[in-house]
Symmetry: C2
């Protein structure tokens, strides 16, 4: 509900700054340092987060301490939406600015105003879809294809570009590997291969741009499809 004094086009605002129906619930800003653990798996949680700035990873730990990242989240996205035990851990990849919402307050708000729960439901639907897609890609794609898929997906999530249109990896190669089921060496080799095949151009180690596809469409199998309107929860 925080509005500028003068009416402005909402489209011009940064994603993280956009308001949401859930803003009427009790919420407060939080800032998380790099690698800060936001919550642990199994922990009881009653807070939903909406990212304003930065990148968060959801992950689980295997028996041998090896880490599996199951999702990277970016500005505008919600996580921790389901009340109860956390199914994964959440950690800040970069410094993160987020808005924290009390679930109790959201539930209470939902009773007065329908449709409040919908963004939470949509967030979980998307997470599930992207998890399923991730498994399929890990199992059926070779290393370089998984990386290409990742490089196509990332710019859909990170809207910030410098003048030349390059996208920056906010996470380390190890993080990328822990997401795609590869180790850091293979990530390095794979990116080199993609560059030699002319599919991407790299600037340093952390920035890249896709070649031969200027498209802004994120609808293909690659990028998680956005769960569009579902009117089952009656809108007020």
């Amino acid at each position: 509900m925080k509005k500028q004094g003068v009416a402005m086009l909402p489209e011009r605002r940064a994603i993280g700054e956009q308001t949401s129906v859930i803003d009427e619930a009790r919420h407060w800003p939080v800032r998380l340092q790099k690698n800060k653990i936001i919550f642990h798996p199994g922990e009881y949680g009653d807070i939903v987060y909406r990212i304003k700035k930065g990148c968060v990873r959801l992950q689980v730990d295997g028996v041998g301490g090896e880490r599996q990242i199951v999702a990277f989240l970016f500005p505008g996205e919600l996580f921790g939406c389901l009340p109860g035990r956390r199914s994964t851990a959440a950690e800040a990849v970069t410094i993160v600015d987020a808005e924290a919402y009390s679930i109790a307050s959201l539930i209470e708000l939902n009773e007065r105003k329908h449709g409040v729960a919908q963004p939470l439901i949509d967030a979980e639907s998307e997470l599930e879809a992207s998890l399923a897609q991730l498994i399929a890609n890990i199992v059926h794609f070779p290393a370089s294809e998984r990386l290409l898929w990742f490089c196509r997906w990332l710019p859909c999530k990170i809207k910030e570009r410098d003048v030349s249109g390059f996208t920056e990896f906010p996470m380390s190669y190890r993080d990328i590997g822990d997401y795609l089921g590869l180790n850091a060496e293979t990530v390095s080799r794979g990116l080199k291969e993609l560059e030699s095949r002319g599919l991407i151009t790299r600037r340093g180690r952390k920035a890249f741009i896709l070649r031969g596809e200027e498209s802004e469409d994120c609808d293909a199998t690659g990028c998680a499809t956005t769960t569009k309107r579902s009117s089952l929860v009656p809108q007020s």
Copy 2:
């Protein structure tokens, strides 16, 4: 709500026959033939299913038509809980008896009686946790360990045993492989290895029993931990 004429211990009832808080919502029984497609991914869905008998798989299809199964579901479990677009396909592995609930009716019921939505939320939480665990296992475990994990998990889900305590695979080796990121040949070889290592005993191709662990505990990393009480949604 179907009760025997004489009062009986509810514990003695089969899992699929147990009643649930959601039973007050509008629902009807359905029977699904083997390999029947229950819903497609991307499809708009407004029905929740609770399995009474049989086995259901959730899956996505890769670009090359290769199939990735992301979950097997058994009696007592709910699926299709999130209103909106389906994130996966659902298909009957065996003949399935299920109860179908209208989500609209559930939502309406939830407004009169709190806590109705909780089983749906829990089901999704568990699905997410098991997806994350599945990814970790596929990536970090060799074939035989994945199969061992599967053989430990399955008896927790399938309570029916014959006198000798063997558990039957309701699904084909190809299904198991499509779940664990293996092909059918490797599933066959892996099960043979587990048997030669003395970890399982097989009866024919479809039945097995674990050796050296008579435990009924399904709490370890292997089996998806049940999301216990989360009182955020106020109970009436």
